[in-house]
Amino acid sequence: MKLESGFVPVALSSHIEPGTSTGAVVEQAELVVWRDNSGKVHVWEDRCPHRGMRLSFGFVRGDHIACLYHGWQFDTGGQCRHIPAHPDLEVPQTIKVPIYRAEEKLGIVWATTASDAELADITMASDLAGLRSLYVDCSLEHALAGLAVHGFATAGENAGTLTVDGVPLFIALQVVGPQNTALHISVPGAQGADISKRLARWAEALRFALESPELAGMEVA
């Protein structure tokens, strides 16, 4: 799903710590995902309006994100507030980064450019927390077909549930590119370390199977 057609999962909430940023790619569109020090998450176009540098290479200070290149600082509305080379300048309102709608639900950060899109109303028996994001070198269709083998029950577009070792997993898929798909996996909160590690190994085996030439005979331990 493209950013303009609805909410797309871009990261696990737990992977975006306060005061940090990262990049994410949705169908080749580059995004910066960052969390300010108050805990609010932001998803923007990953492009500094000055020289086109990726903002995800920059760094977060308080409620601003700064470009690595020349230190231009942007507030949570995407508005440039400070240009170090011109410290006394009142920055023009036109210097602004396109910002997208971002929401957190089911342990996942979702984003869209659509003003009227609604995040799918998926309810789970308990609160979810991120387990891991799995980046797989395969197409979305291939990933969905591979998940179907395990009884993946779809819930919303490109998302669904699957039970492994008695633990209900929620999996949301992000199309990175034609042959790159991210699976953001969340689980009911407060799983122990041992079960989390076992589920992570299951996910690694799933990745191995999805990247194997044929899905047939896919064995996931």
Binding site: H15, T20, T22, G23, F57, A193, K197, A200
Partner: protein, 210 residues
């Protein structure tokens, strides 16, 4: 005792590995600049007299001449890290640290080569090197994902070791050969922790956040 001289090239990531270790150990040292690119000084008689293998960096400590990144790191830890935090004596942790040092010189070698190819057009198959580097980063990310479930922030044990020092540069510098950090959330977390260590220093390609 410390009479350390590092034959160093600022853009060489193996020189950086040793600079990191020296920094974290709080050691003073002299540097001798060796122009690897384009000068190829590491492969000329003056440097070959010190290190016939022609690899970089070279560290001398008095009359001890060391080459090979892991050899240098291991020796620095043995001589200057009496508490043994960087190279634990406990057999299991020792084995794991040495395993990751081996990893940094084998599975991670394509990352080093991919970067040199990208920066200096050294020989090599760029797409194959990049693919192999991604594979190594994935192994590291899977490992740190598991470590985080155990509440641990470092590759081995409960504090930074030579393993972290040997592994950090290739991942931190991966954008030099156009491999982003998007696919490696556990490694992103780890390098954020690594950057806060006492004695940490940056190099070109690893920005200072000012």
């Amino acid at each position: 005792m410390a009479d350390l001289v590092l034959y160093n090239y600022e853009l060489d990531e193996n020189s950086y590995r040793v600079r990191l270790a020296l920094g974290m150990l709080g050691l003073d040292y002299e540097t001798v600049a060796v122009d690897m690119f384009p000068g190829q000084e590491h492969r000329r008689p003056k440097m070959l007299a010190l290190n016939p293998a022609g690899t970089m960096p070279v560290l001398t400590d008095g009359d001890l001449v060391l080459s090979g990144t892991s050899a240098i790191l291991l020796t620095l830890a043995k001589v200057y890290n009496a508490v043994g935090s960087l190279l634990p004596s406990d057999a299991r942790a020792f084995g794991e640290v040495v395993k990751w040092l081996g990893f940094s010189e084998t599975l991670l070698a394509p990352a080093v080569d991919a970067r040199l190819k990208s920066l200096f057009d050294t020989p090599g198959d760029a797409p194959a090197l990049k693919a192999a580097a991604r594979k190594a980063f994935r192994i590291m990310d899977d490992h740190m994902t598991s470590r985080h479930f155990d509440g641990q922030e470092w590759f081995v044990g409960n504090g930074p070791t030579l393993a972290d020092i040997a592994l950090f540069p290739s991942f931190a510098l991966s954008r030099d050969f156009v491999v982003g950090h998007e696919e490696y959330p556990a490694l992103r977390r780890w390098i954020r922790r690594f950057r806060t260590l006492k004695g940490f220093r940056t190099m070109p390609g690893i920005p200072d956040y000012h």
